[in-house]
Amino acid sequence: MAENPIVAAVERPQAVAPQEADFDNRNSDWFIDKAVQILVFLGGISAIVFIIGIFVFITKEGAGFLFADLDIVEFFTSPRWRPTSEHNPTYGILALVVGTASVTGLAMVVAIPFSLGAAIYIAEFATGKTREFLKVLVELLAAIPSVVWGFIGLTIMNPLIIQVFDVPVGLNVLNAGVILGLMAAPIMTSIAEDALNAVPDRYREAAEAMGATRWQVTIRAVLPAAKNGLLGAVLLGVGRGFGETMAVLMATGHSINLPSSVFDSVRALTATIAAELGETAVGSNHYMALFTIGIFLFVITFIINLTADLIVRGVRKG
């Protein structure tokens, strides 16, 4: 210990020493605290273990194809997905990737303005009963099963699109994009509204006190404070779009096609797995190719989430 000038110079006064023992006495509270720390640590670790387990499983199932027969260039650049061909099966997922991407992209075009608008209205403009009613309604919409949305796509959107746009088939990118957009909007609204509600009222009050209108308060004070949460809501929607299976299976037309317009039928990656996995022989190239698609979906989702995380943390590459 370094010499303390005060203590060194005067005669060192006696330090107080009542019941010193409890400083070193690890009582039951201390042990409970440690036990809980270990439990939550295990809980946190287990999530990582499960994710790695899933990745290992799908990689193992797809490995026999992925590292042997797969022509990786053809896999990503060929639009021909003909795994059941007797003589010359081809495994090109380009059309499926484009199908998923186009439907998701259109869904976001539909969902982002709707959900952000709804969230801003509920959180910033609506008051009293209107607000409570809308919140409940949004929660309710988010709970509609995806097969119901697919059903709406098949029976309502399909004839509507044929009629309005005078096209031969109504099961296409437009149909699935709109359906997926409407489907993702409530959950995105809910998350975005939570993000807006988390902004402390003192920000609003400070801006209002300077004479800002409600909209100016929202755009200048609330949105900047909530931007990470809003971005999270949007990326959640993108993730939902990539992962959604049933609704897109029913509404896209499920035909392998590189779309040239929103009126072309397409097929999605997820729908392909769902529709074909039950009909393949376990261990066949087709079976393993479907798992390779699974790996690809896993990696894409991982990249989306990682990007979101980096953006939220404000870390930019390069």
């Binding site: 370094a2 330090a15 070193d24």
Partner: protein, 272 residues
């Protein structure tokens, strides 16, 4: 440095002329606090004695709040905060304790901004006694009333002890925070600019309570109000730009010779 030490020693001796039996409660030796690569407080050396009110004054960013955090080991959960040197509480280095919660039990802290926990007023004040195992309703009632009275809040809330503490006004929440700190029955009470959200009349009432409390506890009073330090503190330290510039008998800082002209300038309001 030698010159400086002599001055500090004078102050230390003075408290013994006032109270010859005063014992060291808190001893600070070569304390340095840094966040990452930035050192925000260094070369702090002084002792705080039992039953004194020890004032810490100084402008913003002088390291006053970080000092308080270091005393009750709140650096533990701030990974970037690093504390060097020694802080001896009752002669024990506060880094050597096997049970840091026992230390915090004995130190009450009041932060500048009021924190009414989202519990009822009663439960806010009864929290610390309950944590330490007191279950009897009668005992808790006594503690709650005594602490709220001392914090000059009892008359305002006695009819609504069940309402949420977080719904009280800012000033009331600050007094609730003080009541909660007292409910721990601390040996050391650290107040960080407690009067920032409290009206002057209530501030005076709490100041009177602090003068009374001095008989039971040791108090560290961090304050922006130089006159508050003058009214309350037996001795005062002046922190400036991450250094402890001066420690002395409060009245001497205001009227006697000071080691450093900056101290005089600050207490007389010429800067800061």
């Amino acid at each position: 440095m030698v010159e400086g030490s002599e001055k500090v020693v004078t102050a230390a001796q003075n408290i013994h002329t006032l109270r010859p039996d005063a014992r060291v409660k808190l001893e600070i030796a070569d304390l340095a606090i840094s966040y990452g690569a930035q050192t925000i407080l260094s070369d702090v050396n002084f002792s705080i004695y039992e039953h004194e009110i020890f004032g810490i004054i100084g402008p913003a960013n002088a390291g006053k709040t970080s000092f308080i955090k270091a005393v009750n080991r709140m650096d533990m959960f701030t990974s970037s905060m690093h504390v060097d040197g020694q802080i001896l509480f009752n002669g024990r280095d506060n880094k050597s304790l096997r049970n840091v919660y026992a230390l915090r039990n004995r130190i009450g802290v009041v932060f500048p901004l009021p924190v009414g926990l989202p519990l009822s007023v009663y439960d806010n004040v009864a929290l610390a006694p309950r944590l330490s195992g007191i279950k009897s309703k009668e005992k808790l009632d006594v503690i709650v009333e005594r602490c709220l009275t001392r914090a000059a809040l009892w008359d305002e809330v006695k009819d609504r002890l069940d309402s949420l503490g977080s719904l009280l006004s800012g000033g009331q929440q600050q007094r609730l925070t003080i009541a909660r700190a007292l409910s721990q029955d601390p040996e050391l009470l650290m107040l960080d600019e407690f009067s920032i959200a409290v009206d002057p009349v209530t501030t005076m009432r709490i100041e009177d309570v602090l003068k009374e409390l001095k008989k039971e506890v040791t108090i560290i009073l961090v304050t922006n109000l130089v006159q508050q330090a003058r009214r309350l503190a037996d001795r005062t330290a002046f922190f400036l730009e991450g250094k402890c510039v001066e420690v002395g008998i409060t009245e001497e800082l205001f009227t006697g010779t000071v080691k450093d002209q900056r101290t005089r300038d600050y207490v007389e309001g010429r800067f800061g």
